[in-house]
């Protein structure tokens, strides 16, 4: 489910099935030397999260990304986000990011994937890469789900 009206309505009617919230964490960097890489990372993360949503639509809510600049990062408290979502009825909260800094936060479920530059790639190649990337994400999700 995405965070939009029809999906939220479906979520509220099926809360017992949709028990996982996935929160993308998106780093934005605007300096001349970093903005191109940052933009490419953002494109990758957005493509991948949309694909994950398509595969697991009935089990998870994909929130819009939490975006931050470097100076804001120390103030971004994952436990607050996690708490709000758990209060709303989600059993599992998973963060997904291309920013390696979050991997250190071992008390949360963080899926970290190195970004692959997708620009100037043909659509079939892109799809193939996304499917391979998805295969890396699936075990993490199924682990969380079976570990009840």
């Amino acid at each position: 489910m995405f965070f939009n009206v029809p999906d939220i309505q479906q979520f509220q009617a099926n809360k017992e099935f949709i028990d996982t919230a996935v929160v993308p964490l998106l780093s934005l960097q605007f300096s001349d030397d970093k903005s191109k890489k940052s933009g490419s990372d953002a494109e990758y993360l957005m493509s991948l999260t949309a694909f994950i949503e398509q595969q697991f639509k009935g089990r998870l809510l994909m929130t819009p990304p939490f975006s931050y600049v470097d100076s804001l990062k120390p103030h971004l408290d994952l436990s607050l986000i996690e708490k709000e979502l758990k209060d709303a009825g989600f059993k599992h909260v998973v963060f997904i990011t291309c920013d390696a800094d979050w991997v250190k936060k071992e008390e949360f479920h963080v899926i970290w994937l190195p970004a692959i530059p997708l620009t100037s790639m043909d659509i079939p190649v892109k799809q193939k890469i996304m499917e391979d990337q998805l295969k890396q994400v699936i075990p993490t999700l199924t682990n969380i789900w079976t570990k009840l």
Partner: protein
């Protein structure tokens, strides 16, 4: 000479009738054209989308066929990718939508090793027979949708989604 001459009055009447006739025709013609337009539309491959799948390479084992089309959502134009599970049943080509009828996840062929020869939805263990008919006792309440199929130059084309014909 004088009797056959067109009078000023006659000249004006003819002219106005003629010009008026053209004006009326100019207004009526497009209206008539619009009214009969649906009948004149040629039904070419209308809503069919060409895929990269060769029909000759299909077997009785379902394969995933991806296809893309452009979608406009207000100002946001995006290239949407969808897929279908396609296999041959005798000579007939069956194309099933991979969207689970429970809550819309994507189902996979033989996704669960415990249940071969079935479609499996990883979200809540929903299962479907090869025909797309849902297995009773699992969460889905309806059969997988089916795509219209067509063939063009040896490649598979997919059309509209409709309810499963095996259900």
């Amino acid at each position: 000479m004088s009797n056959n001459r067109v009078t000023r009055r006659q000249f004006l009447t003819y002219t106005i009738t003629g010009v008026g006739g053209f004006m009326a025709a100019g207004m009526l013609m497009p209206m008539v054209r619009f009214a009969v337009d649906p009948l004149l539309q040629t039904k070419t491959e209308g809503d069919f989308v060409l895929t990269g799948q060769k029909v000759s390479e299909l077997t009785d084992a379902p394969v995933k066929v991806d296809f893309s089309f452009e979608r406009t959502d207000a100002w946001y134009v995006s290239e949407t990718t969808d897929s279908a599970w396609v296999y041959k049943d005798g000579d007939a080509i069956i194309a099933l939508s991979p969207v689970c009828k429970h809550l819309g996840c994507t189902v996979n062929w033989e996704g669960d090793p415990d249940h071969p020869n079935q479609f499996f939805c990883a979200c809540h263990a929903g299962r479907y027979e090869k025909t797309g008919v849902n297995v009773p006792g699992t969460p889905p309440t309806a059969a997988l949708d089916q795509y219209e199929v067509a063939e063009k130059d040896g490649f598979l084309m997919l059309g509209k989604k409709s309810a499963n014909s095996f259900a």
